[in-house]
């Protein structure tokens, strides 16, 4: 019974959202606001259940998942930084939140630099150092070099550089085309998913 009610609610909300394709209307507005509200509530619940409780409350107050007192009490440092973030609500103490922001920006920047160099730049350079023995390899190497030349702005785009940059543009456009094609496919897939639900689970036309 619960499943049937759930299916009808989901089908009704899907149709309410689809109705926007005809024109804006109260049914769409209702579904939109409901979605935002439920998502926000779900996110708050998840943050408490899978973040604050198991990673802060449980280890500090119930010693769960910690092996030493240091492991336990060191958690107070991120807890304090987390609370300082809330200082933004109070104009006089808002500056305190900058410490927390500095910490998160510092960590993100540090990890980002390592990730970009170790995870992208070096492996991608390695992946481009290919023997020019196959058509695929030649296209790949020419594509990389001419695209890099297109983004080289320290010299005027004249002569050979201009020709190379033009070839680079062709590769960039081909890449955009592939991305756009995949995006169209993805959006149609979402429509297929919803119609599949309406036809199969709701109307039972396929059973």
């Amino acid at each position: 019974m619960t499943h049937i009610i759930g299916t009808w609610i989901a089908a009704g909300l899907t149709l309410a959202i689809f109705s926007f394709l005809y024109r804006d209307n109260p049914a769409y507005k209702f579904a939109e606001h409901l979605y935002v509200g439920v998502s926000a509530a779900f996110a708050v619940l998840y943050t408490w259940a899978f973040d604050i409780w198991p990673m802060l409350v449980d280890p500090i107050f119930r010693s769960r998942g910690v092996t030493s007192p240091v492991d336990r009490w060191i958690l107070l440092i991120p807890a304090i930084f987390g609370l300082l973030m809330l200082a933004r609500w109070f104009p006089k103490a808002a500056w305190l939140s900058r410490w927390s922001i500095s910490l998160t920006v510092g960590i993100a920047a540090g990890l980002g630099i390592i990730g970009q160099i170790q995870g992208i730049l070096l492996p991608q350079i390695q992946g481009t150092l290919l023997p020019l023995t196959t058509i695929n390899n030649i296209i790949l190497v020419v594509g990389v070099i001419t695209t890099l030349i297109y983004f080289y702005f320290s010299a005027a785009h004249k002569g050979l550089i201009r020709v190379s940059a033009r070839i680079g543009v062709v590769f960039i456009m081909a890449s955009f085309g592939a991305s756009f094609g995949y995006t169209v496919m993805a959006r149609i897939s979402l429509l297929i998913g919803r119609l599949n639900f309406l036809i199969n689970d709701w109307l039972h036309l396929l059973r």
């Binding site: 973040d51 990673m55 995870g119 993805a186 897939s189 297929i192 119609l195 036809i199």
Partner: protein
């Protein structure tokens, strides 16, 4: 002339209606096309197929409801493949709202296997053959930290059971105990798994991505940073074909093709109308 003018000024609601019709009809008529499996999907399949039986595969659920039609069929196919090969599955996720889909997938596929099982040894059991660790925040920091020790982040599983009480998790401490990561990605988490778990710890990775992110994954595939790529609903259909279990991926392929044909027709007709009218105005 009037027809061409109508084409140029066509009410977009007619396009929506036409799209719904061409997508719905193949689904209602249950039309199926033969699926040709592409090399990136075959490589992803081989990565799981070639693992010795009993290997540990980690699956990351990095999507939510908005990408479910594309990525859920991939999850189901990968789980069917893993359980058929008797691999252990450790499921976790970086998208809080996506974890219920992981739980649904595990329950569905383990249920299918258990309905055919004749003994406990044949069954797919929670804690022994698969676990759902759930969601933890942290993204990059989490990925780097898991390379050191899972318990620093996951002291309990999705259901609140301490991980050390789960037989499967007793042997899993960090990436050294994971044979393959299957990242099901709708956003940036895939790049982060590759950049941190792959590049730093040498974790073997295959990616199942939405159509939007799949093109951005090909350079990782070319450079050998990932071992296989399953892109979009088409990729899901190809994987379903390989595991010989047709689901919503294969069922949606005819609808996908008819929708693409319709879009192409509209693009061509719109352009013809535009250029003809432009030429007539000039003359």
């Amino acid at each position: 002339m009037k027809f061409l003018e109508r084409m140029v000024n066509l009410d977009r609601r007619f396009i929506y209606l036409a799209l719904v019709v061409v997508v719905a009809l193949p689904l209602i008529l249950k039309l199926v096309l033969p699926i040709r499996v592409s090399e990136p999907v075959r490589e992803a399949y081989r990565s799981i197929e070639d693992l010795p039986s009993g290997s540990t595969v980690m699956v990351s659920i990095d999507y939510d409801a908005s990408s479910e039609p594309e990525l859920q069929p991939m999850l189901l196919s990968v789980l069917r493949h893993c359980f058929a090969k008797r691999h252990k599955v450790v499921l976790l996720g970086q998208w809080a709202l996506g974890l219920p889909f992981g739980e649904i997938g595990l329950n569905k596929v383990s249920g299918e296997f258990n309905s055919r099982a004749q003994s406990s040894a044949d069954s797919i059991l929670y804690g022994r053959d698969f676990v759902n660790l759930g969601y933890r925040p942290g993204a990059r920091a989490l990925i780097v930290g898991l390379g050191r020790e899972f318990r620093d982040f996951f002291s309990a599983d999705y259901r609140g059971t301490p991980v050390d009480s789960l037989p499967l998790m007793r042997g899993v401490r960090n990436y050294n105990n994971i044979d393959l990561l299957v990242g099901l990605e709708a956003g940036q988490a895939g790049d982060e798994w590759i950049q941190f778990a792959g590049a730093r710890y040498g974790l073997k990775i295959i990616i199942g991505g939405t159509g939007v992110i799949a093109p951005d994954m090909f350079h990782y595939l070319q450079a050998g940073q990932i071992k296989g790529l399953v892109g979009g609903l088409q990729g899901a259909a190809e994987y379903e074909t390989l595991v010989r279990h047709h689901g919503t991926g294969v069922a949606g392929m005819v609808a996908q093709s008819t929708a693409h044909i319709l879009i192409l027709v509209f693009i061509v007709m719109g352009n013809i109308a535009y250029f003809v009218l432009k030429g007539r105005k000039k003359s």
